[in-house]
């Protein structure tokens, strides 16, 4: 038991020491128990169905939902 605790402490200490290494960068870790990153069967390369709401703010109209871009609004999606 004590040996296992020591092992965990050693692992942590090792990790903190490694933060000092020059040739390292942070890792973008994704847990396998979660919905995977990346594309989906139906959702395509985004991996999710996206709705974008953009408040035009000029006439108090309700939010619009579209995949098209608006050239009058700096190319933002509607």
């Amino acid at each position: 038991m004590k040996n296992k605790k020591r092992l965990m402490c050693a692992l942590l200490a090792f990790s903190f020491l490694m933060t000092g290494c020059v040739h390292q960068r942070s890792l973008d870790y994704h847990d396998d128990s979660q919905i995977p990153q990346g594309p989906g069967l139906l959702s395509g390369k985004d991996g999710a169905f996206k709705l974008q709401f953009n408040d035009h703010g000029y006439d108090g109209a309700s939010n619009s939902i579209s995949n098209q871009t608006d050239p009058k609004n700096n190319g933002k999606r509607l």
């Binding site: 692992l11 942590l12 942070s26 847990d31 396998d32 919905i35 959702s43 709401f53 408040d55 933002k76």
Partner: protein, 348 residues
């Protein structure tokens, strides 16, 4: 610092930008189904299950910038799991699906870090299965009971404890209603703490180190949780962590350790070792795990498993696993349990 000064600092953090900002809502999900066969030494059974390692689920997420640097959002994640692979058994051969809440939380992310409020992961949830083998969809590190966990050990006509009751790790307090704070990454280091409530108060803290090097990748996490118990009993204290290394040539290894102390003179422990190999769209691993004193003092549960995952395209994972569970208990001679499963997870 006087009150005026505090307000003058706080207002820019929370005021909405005058510029119109796009708000985005995303919907995503997955289905994860498998065929599982169990043999407890007396009888062989086959079930059609939902893989509890990563159950069938869907989620809605909405995010929007409230200032140039602060993102606000809401997440609703539900699971819909029929015949969970962790609990299906001869005694419960069919378990109807129920729509269950996994996460229902709001969050704010900015230069100050990340704050979560609502039902979601405690600060240490998942700390014991940090793993880079690529086989987690069929075998989360240290969670062997997720496949075949409902199967009972038998000795002749006598049935004993199930796999889940005797061979499992202690991955802290899972999901519950809480407030959680998580730092932004200090280089590869992330710290988190949460306070929440189940039947009584729950406190958790964790540290995660995740980094890429010239030789490969390395991740480790360490956590601690305590759950207060009503009625004056001792708190449930859990401590543990995991570590995994993946070399550029595909070889990888992982270790998970966790300990639950629910009573002053009684501790349960789980230790799992993993060796693996990744090559292109293929990943495989072999595990060995030991759980001491889980169902009762003196129990020793062991597990050995072989796991394989193939990703023909990025949204499909095909997988298979075979594992053998054993239980040593005083004055008993339980048969080993063999479990074989194969299935697929498809992200839609």
């Amino acid at each position: 610092m006087n009150k005026k000064c505090i307000f003058s600092l706080a207002i820019p953090l929370f005021c909405v930008s005058a510029v119109s900002q796009a708000v985005e809502m995303t919907v995503s999900g997955q289905i994860n189904r498998a065929v599982m066969t169990t043999d407890n030494g007396e009888k062989t059974e086959t079930y059609f299950v939902d893989n509890t390692n990563s159950s069938t689920r869907f989620r809605f997420s909405a995010t929007g910038q409230i200032t140039d640097t602060i993102l606000a959002g809401a997440l609703l994640e539900m699971e819909f799991e029929s015949n969970p692979s962790s609990s299906i058994s001869r005694a419960n051969p069919q378990i109807s699906s129920e729509l269950q809440e996994r996460k229902a939380e709001i969050f704010f992310k900015g230069p100050f870090g990340e704050v979560y409020l609502g039902q979601g992961d405690g600060a240490a949830n998942g700390i014991t299965h940090k793993d880079l083998s690529g086989t987690g969809v069929v075998a989360l590190l240290g969670h062997a009971h997720m496949i075949g966990g409902g199967t009972q050990f038998v000795e002749g006509n006598q049935t004993g404890s199930t796999v889940s009751q005797t061979i499992a790790n202690f991955d802290f307090e899972s999901r519950y209603d809480r407030i959680k704070y998580q730092t932004n990454q200090f280089g590869p280091l992330t710290l988190a703490a949460s306070i929440g409530r189940k039947d009584d108060m729950v406190y958790e803290t964790s540290a995660i180190y995740a980094s890429e090097f010239s030789f490969g990748q390395f991740i480790t996490g360490f956590g601690y949780s305590t759950e207060e118990v009503t009625g004056g009993a001792d708190n449930n204290d859990t401590v543990g962590g995991s570590a995994s290394i993946l070399l550029n040539n595909g070889l990888n290894a992982a270790l998970s350790y966790s300990q639950l102390e629910a009573d002053a003179d009684y501790k349960s422990e789980n230790t799992t070792f993993r060796l693996g190999y990744k090559s292109g769209r293929h990943a495989s691993s072999i595990d060995y795990g030991i759980t001491d004193d889980r169902a009762q003092k003196g129990d020793k549960g062991t597990y050995i498993g072989l796991n394989y995952v193939f990703k023909p395209v990025n949204w499909v994972e095909l997988y298979a696993t075979g594992r053998v569970f054993g239980l040593d208990r005083e004055n008993t001679d339980f048969d080993d349990i063999t479990v074989v499963a194969m299935g697929t997870r498809i992200k839609f």
